[in-house]
């Protein structure tokens, strides 16, 4: 069909095209994305970080669940099989954003009713009210703590925004300006 000369010429073309094809293929795959465009990939978004929360109480399947950062309490309860009929939805904020390592306790109606606070307990509850949650308090609230000024309060807020919630009192030592002495003073007044 083809003469000998034509055949060898065409076979060289075949070899050349094969080599070029793989060359182009590699070049396409290895070349970087468009340089003048800002390309943000969706999986780089920080909102998709996974966190763990513990749910127990009036839910169907209590346990530890993995959720995405930014999830809310009602979503976690949904994961745990939903509320059991005895759950007291009025005493829990279903719209609150959950945090890593959080302990969500869903109260039951009986539980809330039975626990009619005695005088002593009421006093304790009163004291608990005064405890400041360092993971949730605003700068103004933190300022009420002894030895904490506006600057340090702001630093606490900045620290937890950057590194996540505090888990123990010793975590507070990492905030610049809080030493052992200051921590000793406020230890009894804060909660996590």
């Amino acid at each position: 069909m083809f003469s000998d000369k034509q055949r060898s010429g065409l076979i060289w073309i075949v070899v050349f095209i094969i080599v070029a094809a793989f060359g182009f293929h590699l070049y396409d795959r290895l070349s970087p994305p468009p340089s003048g465009v800002i390309v943000k990939s969706e999986d780089e978004k920080p909102s998709l970080k996974e966190i763990y929360v513990y749910v127990h109480g009036a839910v169907k399947n209590p346990g530890v669940y993995k959720v995405y950062k930014g999830s809310r309490v009602f979503e976690v309860i949904e994961l745990a099989g939903g509320l059991s009929p005895s759950a007291d939805v009025r005493s829990i904020n279903l719209a609150r954003v959950v945090e890593d390592g959080e302990n969500i306790s869903v109260p039951t109606i009986e539980g809330t009713k039975v626990q009619t606070p005695s005088v002593g307990e009421e006093a304790q509850a009163g004291r608990r009210e005064k405890l400041i949650n360092v993971n949730k308090a605003s700068v103004e609230e933190l300022e009420k703590l002894p030895g904490i000024g506006k600057t340090i309060a702001q630093r606490i807020v900045n620290y937890r925004e950057k590194n996540g919630p505090f888990k123990s009192p010793s975590d507070l030592l990492k905030v610049k300006g809080i030493g052992e002495k200051k921590l000793e003073k406020i230890k009894g007044l804060i909660t996590f």
């Binding site: 065409l10 075949v14 094809a21 468009p34 003048g36 465009v37 969706e42």
Partner: protein, 386 residues
């Protein structure tokens, strides 16, 4: 065998065409290919199959990756209608039609819509931006179009702009419809006719100046290179340009080969540059025309066939892609092509200051005759609707 390159081109195209329907694993293809190459040492018949498989493998490897990450895009682009450019390599198709200019665009990256795949891939647009918001930085009107609009009425100006630069976006839909239905659509894409006319004109005028034919060939190919570069290497122009370059190369090197082989070589080169040109309707039409003319020359048919053959060759393709057969094209082309050939060089002169104003009425008259011919021929020979 007299036409090795034509045969090889046709079987390579078959391979590229198969990728439109099925996708194969490249390594599977490579194994078959090695097997076929070994076989073709024994019997050269197998080269035909080799090139077919090679066509599949080549388009498979050049296939743009579909699974690029879905991402947000923000940047400043040069926009022409639906097409946005960052540079020559970075091209995007836009989900919105914008006026020509510089825009800041924000949107989402996506794959180009599959019904436009043939048109876009053959031009190197693989990605689409779903426009969410855009800000105009500055509008950009083509200075050539501006000049034409000063000299001619709107419809004539847009026709000339389409004929010279292959950009038909500004045309009135009614006129565009008439021109296409009468089989004169090829005048509006920079194609073989334009390239042939320009090359012929420069060769003749250089000959008249007493320049050596070899130097004349080189000079005219330089001029054509400049022209195809100016209109942005549009596929239709590129096809005719490459064919012309191959002819010049053959003449300069003193190679004697059949014109069918030249067409085959041009087709192979274009498919090597971008295999997906085969999926473009324009490519199919062009090569139907090229092949039919080359065949008519090869068979030494009478000159009348040189006129009829390309038209008949495009009918099946027009019927498949656009569902009509423009019978009017026999009549319209007979009168329109000579007039157009005369009008084209004059139209170029309209960009020359002062001289342009003088010849404007003449060019306008010729273009209006073309409009009249296309309307008349449709009346006389209505196109077959399928």
């Amino acid at each position: 065998m007299g036409y090795p390159l034509l045969l090889v081109f046709l079987s390579f195209s078959l391979g590229v065409g198969i990728t439109w329907f099925y996708r194969f694993s490249p390594f599977f293809l490579l194994v078959i290919l090695i097997f076929l190459v070994i076989l073709s040492f024994k019997c050269s018949y197998f080269l035909i199959f080799t090139f077919c498989i090679l066509g599949i493998l080549y388009s498979e490897l050049r296939f743009p990756s579909v699974d690029f990450p879905k991402a947000e895009v923000e940047g400043v682009f040069e926009v022409k209608g639906n097409l946005a450019h960052l540079s020559r390599e970075e091209k995007f198709f836009l989900s919105k039609y914008l006026k020509d200019g510089i825009y800041k665009i924000k949107g989402c990256l996506a794959f180009v819509p599959s019904e436009k795949r043939g048109y876009l891939w053959s031009r190197g647009y693989y990605r689409m931006i779903e426009v969410e918001s855009f800000n105009l930085v500055s509008l950009r009107e083509d200075p050539f179009l501006k000049r034409l609009k000063e000299l001619y009425p709107e419809d004539v100006a847009s026709f000339i702009y389409g004929a010279l630069f292959g950009d038909k976006r500004g045309m009135l839909p009614s006129i565009k419809e008439v021109v296409y239905r009468s089989g004169l659509g090829h005048l509006l894409a920079v194609s073989g006719l334009h390239v042939g006319l320009l090359a012929g004109l420069t060769l003749l005028s250089l000959k008249a100046l007493g320049i050596h034919p070899r130097l004349g060939l080189i000079l005219s190919s330089v001029l054509l290179t400049a022209y195809t570069y100016m209109i942005g290497f549009q596929p239709s122009a590129l096809r005719a340009y490459i064919l012309f370059l191959l002819m010049v190369l053959g003449k300069l090197l003193g190679l004697r080969t059949s014109s069918l082989n030249l067409v085959g070589a041009a087709g192979l080169l274009l498919e090597f540059w971008n295999p997906f040109v085969l999926w473009d309707v324009g490519f199919e039409l062009s090569f139907a025309v090229f092949l039919s003319i080359a065949l008519a020359i090869e068979l030494r048919l009478s000159p009348i066939f040189l006129y009829i053959a390309p038209q008949i060759a495009t009918f099946p393709l027009l019927a498949i892609h656009f569902n009509y057969i423009p019978l009017a094209s026999f009549l319209s082309n007979l009168i329109a092509i000579p007039i157009f050939s005369l009008a084209l060089p004059f139209a170029f002169l309209s960009f020359v200051p002062i001289l342009g104003e003088f010849i404007a009425p003449l060019v306008k008259l010729m273009i209006e005759i073309i409009f009249f011919i296309s309307m008349l021929s449709i009346k006389l020979l209505p196109s077959l609707k399928l």
